[in-house]
Symmetry: D3
Subunit: 157 residues, 6 copies
Amino acid sequence: MKIALFPGSFDPITLGHIDLIERAIPLFDKVIVAIGQNTQKQYHFDLEQRKSWVNAVCSKYDNVELGLYQGLTVNYAKEVQSHYLIRGLRNASDFDYEKTISQLNNIIGEGIETVFFISKPKYSHISSTIVREIIKGKGNVSEFVPDEVYEQISANY
Amino acid sequence: MKIALFPGSFDPITLGHIDLIERAIPLFDKVIVAIGQNTQKQYHFDLEQRKSWVNAVCSKYDNVELGLYQGLTVNYAKEVQSHYLIRGLRNASDFDYEKTISQLNNIIGEGIETVFFISKPKYSHISSTIVREIIKGKGNVSEFVPDEVYEQISANY
Amino acid sequence: MKIALFPGSFDPITLGHIDLIERAIPLFDKVIVAIGQNTQKQYHFDLEQRKSWVNAVCSKYDNVELGLYQGLTVNYAKEVQSHYLIRGLRNASDFDYEKTISQLNNIIGEGIETVFFISKPKYSHISSTIVREIIKGKGNVSEFVPDEVYEQISANY
Amino acid sequence: MKIALFPGSFDPITLGHIDLIERAIPLFDKVIVAIGQNTQKQYHFDLEQRKSWVNAVCSKYDNVELGLYQGLTVNYAKEVQSHYLIRGLRNASDFDYEKTISQLNNIIGEGIETVFFISKPKYSHISSTIVREIIKGKGNVSEFVPDEVYEQISANY
Amino acid sequence: MKIALFPGSFDPITLGHIDLIERAIPLFDKVIVAIGQNTQKQYHFDLEQRKSWVNAVCSKYDNVELGLYQGLTVNYAKEVQSHYLIRGLRNASDFDYEKTISQLNNIIGEGIETVFFISKPKYSHISSTIVREIIKGKGNVSEFVPDEVYEQISANY
Amino acid sequence: MKIALFPGSFDPITLGHIDLIERAIPLFDKVIVAIGQNTQKQYHFDLEQRKSWVNAVCSKYDNVELGLYQGLTVNYAKEVQSHYLIRGLRNASDFDYEKTISQLNNIIGEGIETVFFISKPKYSHISSTIVREIIKGKGNVSEFVPDEVYEQISANY
């Protein structure tokens, strides 16, 4: 069984993440969208909120499920028997960072493989960081996040 | 009337910023050099100080004025009826970031256009970040900032 | 009178070029779309064909016209009294090349200014080079070129 | 049945190509290593030679086979019922080029997907171009190409 | 006497740093591995720890010694009569940053020269930042740091 | 004796090359400016002309001399007992290319080391390619090449 891990903060989950999930589904038997919790990091949305949104997205697909972990991504991958990480590449700046991380994971993760997709043009300007900035500025994020996220944010602000 | 907005922190304003202002002037009827205030961000120089320096620079040109805003740049642009943002590009790293931001502003700003200039060689290594580091290290910033800024910094340190 | 020169081979003109022209129009009094002829270079479409397509595009706009030149772009700019070049940036690779060319033109062109727009996401994968490859492979270029070009290519192949 | 197409000139096939093939095998039911023939392009090694080397490599794996095509890659992919292209990324320069090509193939190939792997550090400086330069200079390419290629080249030169 | 300064945080020193030191040794009469202390910055390992590790490394070579400084690197360089900085480049993202810093140091350091080496493939994914992340996640850093660092970290965690 | 090889086509030698030579001189006992002749490549200026210009430049410095070679750079380096190559880096695009070449030379050249300098801002837009384009367009290259080259070009055109 080929299991892919899609690790991230998902603070919040965006349409860019969803595009990646949908492109990974046909290649793997199961895709785990895994929220990595770093106790030293500050998040804009709390864990319960982020879990709830990721869950809402995962439930739309067979064979996609929510995961949660602390510590190194490769340790969690081992735990859930995943030999693949999936990551998106938006631009050349992403590339150098992701190259370093994937080579590292390959070494400390005993051969774990990272499979990359290049973001589609209509998603290549979307990142959680930017979505958070727009939310802080009370701008409209309807074109960047799934309906579940948009509705809740609009209701709260 | 074509109004261009030049948004930034200007912490402090540098010769690189001024080069950009001077290159934008002939293209627009008015250039607003707008200090964006982010209450969650820490600045090296306080708002009054930054305003005073930007003002000193603006007053040297007809049709260049100081602006102040909080929140999203595109909201302020709408408020002052500016349909253009101006930004400088120093290197390929700047490029990927600015590409993302400009595409985003175009979407949430209902078609707002960003016009780019590539920094001249003699200014391409100047950034406010680096100027602040030199100031903290008590180095000489006379080649990087306008006289008003340099004199006050030298007097204070 | 502010005149912008948009230099290129236009072999053939694409939707990416047209987007750039439309974004330049509001900033300038006149935009000259200028085909540079380099006798040492081989073109896929002959000059008459390229002129005819650029002309068809230009005629849709007031204040946009076709130009033709040989030799250095800055010499032609001087001849037509244009102090501005306009160029599009698609990605970081474009950036380093265009930075070099614009600094050079600024020096040999006595202060000529290059104004840059970053390609919109939906156009950032379009280049004349790639369009030519698709044409050679008899693929469908209808999403990449204006109707005039598409119709003629389809009729011929 | 998930079929992946690995298109290229393979002039000659290198250890970098082989690494990519081995990483693609577990993800797909079949991998077609397809030599694209462009009649306007000049190759260092003739088609028979390149076919023979690719064949020697393919024969070491189950479910990996040689392909041959002319014209657009997406047309050949359709012909062999492959919905996936596989490509390697070595550095940021590769990235911008491959991004453009993959977006293009997605459009003209009716949704064809490109899956990327980032080259392992020990292969990231290998390219067919560089191998050819070393061969022309009569240098030792034993660390860059499979044994079959190395032996034949050494015998001939 | 040609003295090279290798400035950094060394939080902790890695095999990548050591590769750079060994490549600089034949070019200079003395190499000073200098830990820059920034009072506003938080370090993972305290100064005594970092000094002890750098010292252990330096002691393996003739003509390599530990340095310590606060404030601008160029001021310390002047103090120890070093006219050369040495830096490693791992990828294109490093490049734009290091270009800016080296041009700056050249100006404020009255002509100080920075000599660059490009990281060897096997070290190009190693950075202190990444080593710290692995340590926080209790992963194995034996392939990234010298034995002295590895043993102490393993003993403590 | 530390000998550095500065390999290139020098078609023609530029102020950027000279800056590099002058920065390498204090680090090495001898600098060989070596014109690589590739019989399959077309040059704008013939070998005699390029030799004459490089010679004129070398003669201004003690310990700088002209070299000539065919084939692989590392073979020539071995022949002249040079263990160092020197190269300039202008921008991030240069970086990825030079990284590949230097890693390759390190492998096929049995440990040969490449030392890099980053171009000074005033030289970072100069390349022989661009100088040739200006010359073809009969533009003024006085700011890009040494006097010897400029005078002869002006006299001939």
